[in-house]
């Protein structure tokens, strides 16, 4: 009886055969992998939350690290994409949890709640930010809102010498002037801004294009100039009578309130508009004792304001007139006394996919109003910008111009998505683009690709709910409505740390191998091996291609492919 090197056993003569059938070796030498026509690919996909995040965060990794109690490490991950997690956790419209696959099970993860808890925890952590590396250029960033702050932060971490110019005397942009404290407490904003500047960003306040800043001179002093001036020029209503006193722009109102100025007179307020600015104005005035109605030309469901805002406003006592188109500002003695509106009904869908409001003939009505606040959207403030740089309402630098390669624009002013998260993502990408030109260690643009996740999104049909014990979402709740009206205390409550971690632990980890071992445990042939970079790999000498691993992976991180494909 001879033992071959591959593990097989041969009986050289029949005389070697034992009296009975008994074992001389295991079957391990048998290459059942030769049977296969399919095989598994263990590769991470993009989780839907990350795909939806305008800031490009690696949402799953952040959340799972936090759930594991590793706050500093979760902080490293989130701060490598988003310097303002405590802020975005409060004010972002969170498309991530609208996309959350768990929403099709027992309830989406409260991602903003977790992000906010993580952000707040990091404020007390005093993390060391990565050291400055390599860059030497002088960069001017114009606009100290979230886009500009983010770009300045990452450029400084890359080693560049950055000067950040802001219109107000403190950085923050619309974060500070456009979002009331009951949504974003000042202490939180200040702490995150301070951390963003900490690597050595030089800030100069009270400077804006066309008002203390000359673009050409900036260009001469810097190796590159980045415009991040946002979109905050008021839009007019376009109806007769809007020149009367008592008709104000929404953003301007909020800026004034931010500066501590008293609100304009007028006990009965009508706010025209359906976005966050409109509601922020409405609720800020409510807190100053006014009676407030918000009039919007489409329905409540179509209001661009983030869903909870409207609910909270109504709880506090704001009235909402939906499907109401402003026709005319009525005035008495030069001062606004009322707003005439027409009822509307949903018509054809427009370019945005929402039904166009069609006036209903003969349905005019009037809302009494001493103060009309117009919050009907913002546009680019082109002051100080050469006309050749503005196209279609946004900054656009022609590729063949002299300044291409030295002048850049990012965020809302360049046509960006309009939310804080969009701005943060835009600022980071701009910083990376600038590092490509000027040197220095650029921030990672695509965090998921950097950890080997593919671009395909992990859809719900790849999730196996049976592997996840039911766990309904924890609720955070809101402060009581009555006391809320009286001041600036935060409306939406946050999770305490244990609740935040418990909520974070509900994360399925869509498309992301979490080392759960289910593929390893279930393989009938022990053909799933541990320890590859993606977590596991197939032993092709054994894998019969059954596909149980691919079918059972709870988070769709294993795909069954044809061999040779």
């Amino acid at each position: 009886m001879k033992r071959l090197p591959d593990g097989r056993v041969v009986f050289e003569t029949l005389a070697d055969v034992p009296p009975v059938a008994m074992t001389y070796a295991s079957t391990a030498w048998n290459r059942t992998g030769d049977w296969r026509s399919r095989e598994p690919a263990f590769r991470d996909l993009t989780p839907p939350c990350a795909a939806a995040c305008p800031a490009g965060q690696d949402v799953v990794d952040q959340i799972r690290l936090f759930a594991q109690g590793r706050v500093r490490e979760a902080g490293e991950v989130i701060l490598s994409a988003n310097p303002f997690p405590a802020t975005t956790g409060r004010v972002c419209p969170h498309p991530c949890d609208a996309a959350c696959n768990r929403g099709r099970m027992d309830g989406a993860l409260d991602i903003p709640g977790v992000e906010r808890a993580l952000g707040d925890a990091l404020l007390s952590e005093r993390l060391d930010l990565p050291a400055r590396r390599g860059g030497q250029a002088r960069v001017a960033v114009v606009g100290a809102g979230p886009a500009g702050l983010t770009a300045a932060h990452f450029l400084t971490l890359a080693g560049h010498r950055v000067t950040l110019y802001g219109r107000e005397d403190r950085p923050g942009g619309l974060l500070r002037t456009g979002i009331p404290p009951y949504r974003l407490p000042r202490a939180v904003l200040d702490a995150e801004v301070e951390r963003a500047l900490r690597p050595g960003v030089r800030f100069e306040g009270g400077r804006a294009l066309g008002d203390g800043l000359d673009l050409a001179r900036l260009g001469g002093e810097s190796d590159a100039v980045l415009l991040a001036i946002g979109r905050h020029a008021p839009r007019r209503l376009g109806v007769p009578g809007e020149e009367a006193r008592g008709v104000v722009d929404g953003l301007a109102l909020l800026e004034a309130l931010h500066r501590g100025e008293p609100a304009p007179d007028g006990d009965r307020v009508v706010v025209v508009g359906g976005g966050n600015t409109a509601l922020d104005c409405a609720r800020s005035l409510l807190r100053r004792g006014r009676k407030v109605t918000v009039a919007y030309r489409r329905g409540r469901e179509e209001m661009p304001a983030f869903g909870d805002e409207v609910e909270e406003a109504v709880e506090e006592g704001v009235a909402v007139e939906a499907w109401a188109i402003p026709l005319e500002v009525r005035s008495r003695g030069g001062r606004a006394s009322g707003l005439r509106l027409s009822r509307a009904r949903p018509g054809e869908k427009d370019a945005s996919g929402r039904p166009r409001p069609e006036p209903v003939p003969g349905s005019d009505f009037e809302l009494p109003a001493d103060l009309v606040v117009v919050a009907a959207g913002e546009s680019l403030d082109a002051a100080g910008l050469p006309s050749g740089l503005v196209q279609g309402g946004a900054v656009a630098i022609p590729a063949d111009s002299q300044i291409a390669g030295r002048l850049f624009a990012c965020g809302d002013c360049a046509g960006g998505g309009g939310t804080v998260a969009h701005a943060i993502g835009a600022g980071r990408r701009a910083a990376a683009e600038l590092c490509a030109l000027l040197g220095g260690d650029a921030p990672a643009v695509d965090l998921l690709a950097a950890r080997g996740a593919g671009p395909a999104v992990a859809a719900f049909d790849g999730i196996r709910p049976a592997w996840f014990p039911p766990a309904p979402p924890r609720s955070r709740g809101r402060a009581e409505a009555a006391p809320r009206r009286l001041g600036d205390a935060e409306v939406r409550l946050g999770f305490d740390a244990p609740s935040a971690m418990a909520e974070a632990a509900r994360c399925l980890g869509c498309g992301t191998c979490t080392g759960c071992d289910i593929c390893y445990q279930l393989c009938p042939d022990r053909a799933v091996l541990r320890g590859a970079p993606g977590g596991y790999r197939a032993d092709t000498s054994r894998c019969k291609g059954c596909g149980v691993c691919a079918e059972e992976c709870p988070r769709g991180a294993v795909e069954l492919c044809e061999v040779g494909a």
Partner: protein, 315 residues
């Protein structure tokens, strides 16, 4: 040009194993199971829990072939191959022999298919149960004589195609669970690889219980059930969710307890996964649904009448 992109030396979350299993592996790869066969999933899991001081007694069935031919073996423990009808009694004999030589701690397991349990092996299993032999009997049930090429057995469900019931089996599946409960054995449980934690807990409990204990495991067979190999575990899960194969345990024949009660799904979801039920029309599916509901109601009555609050303790 950028000097370099900051390399992603950032932390990743730690692995989170979902299934707590001992780190030991007993069964070897290279065995002859069809791709996607549930039996090696069951056996590999079981042996990791039972450990190397285990003797498997295996009658004629798929698992007697899966182990590999002389001179090889995949299972990594002692295996006594035995005649078709004799799994339970041979196991009892092995245990008596081990007792005689002082190795009474070794676990003796009869590991048999549905043919060798429901049909030809029923007699010797019934007697071994009546004698309360110190044997753990596992029936891995793929619901037909699969090893011989898919012929019907007493375990084949009504309506299922096999090579001897091409128009669908007329009779219902034999109620082996009721039979074994009536034997008042110390522990009986149904298990499904689609509910892994439940299966592991029951395997552990059965291993630790002295006397005659039995696990009835659903073991889907992709070729015999005519379904894609990747659906083996999913089918085992659906069988439970559609209440075709409820998960329950019976202690001493009188304490009945349903151990998993997932949100029920219509039986059509289970049937439509498998080509062996393709002939069933809507009326037939409705009949199956009614039968499943009636059987489950009966099981629920057993549980209501006979049980106390019985925690599923991982012994």
């Amino acid at each position: 040009m950028a000097d370099r992109v900051i390399p992603l030396a950032r932390p990743r979350p730690a692995p989170e194993p979902r299934l707590r299993m001992p780190d030991v592996e007993v069964m070897q790869p290279g065995h002859l199971a069809c791709p996607g066969c549930a039996a090696p999933i069951l056996l590999r899991t079981f042996l990791r829990l039972a450990g190397p001081r285990t003797v498997l007694v295996i009658p004629a069935c798929c698992c007697s072939v899966i182990d590999g031919p002389f001179p090889y073996s995949a299972y990594g423990v002692n295996v006594v191959h035995c005649a078709f009808e004799t799994a339970a009694v041979t196991a009892g004999g092995v245990k008596a022999g081990l007792r005689a030589r002082g190795d009474s701690d070794a676990l003796v397991v009869a590991w048999a298919g549905d043919g060798g349990t429901f049909d030809i092996g029923l007699q010797s299993m019934s007697a071994a149960a009546e004698r309360n032999e110190d044997v753990l009997y596992v029936c891995y049930d793929n619901e037909a004589y699969m090893n011989t090429g898919v012929q019907r057995s007493g375990a084949t469900p009504g309506g299922a195609w096999t090579n001897t019931t091409s128009a669908g089996k007329k009779q219902k599946k034999k109620d082996l669970d009721g039979i074994m409960a009536a034997h008042r054995i110390p522990y009986f449980a149904t298990v499904s690889p689609g509910f892994f934690d439940d299966m592991v807990a029951k395997m552990r409990r059965a291993i630790a219980t002295p006397g005659f204990r039995m696990l009835h495991a659903l073991s889907p067979c992709p070729p015999g059930w005519k379904m894609d190999e990747r659906n083996t575990v999913a089918a085992a899960r659906l069988a439970v969710e559609t209440r075709v194969f409820p998960l329950f345990e019976v202690v001493d024949g009188v304490e009945w307890r349903i151990t998993q009660a997932p949100r029920p799904r219509p039986v059509s979801e289970y049937l439509s996964l498998q080509g062996r039920f393709a002939r069933l029309d809507a009326a037939a599916v409705e009949r199956v649904q009614r039968e499943v509901d009636d059987e489950y109601a009966l099981l629920a009555r057993h549980c209501a009448e006979g049980s106390t609050d019985w925690p599923l303790s991982p012994l």
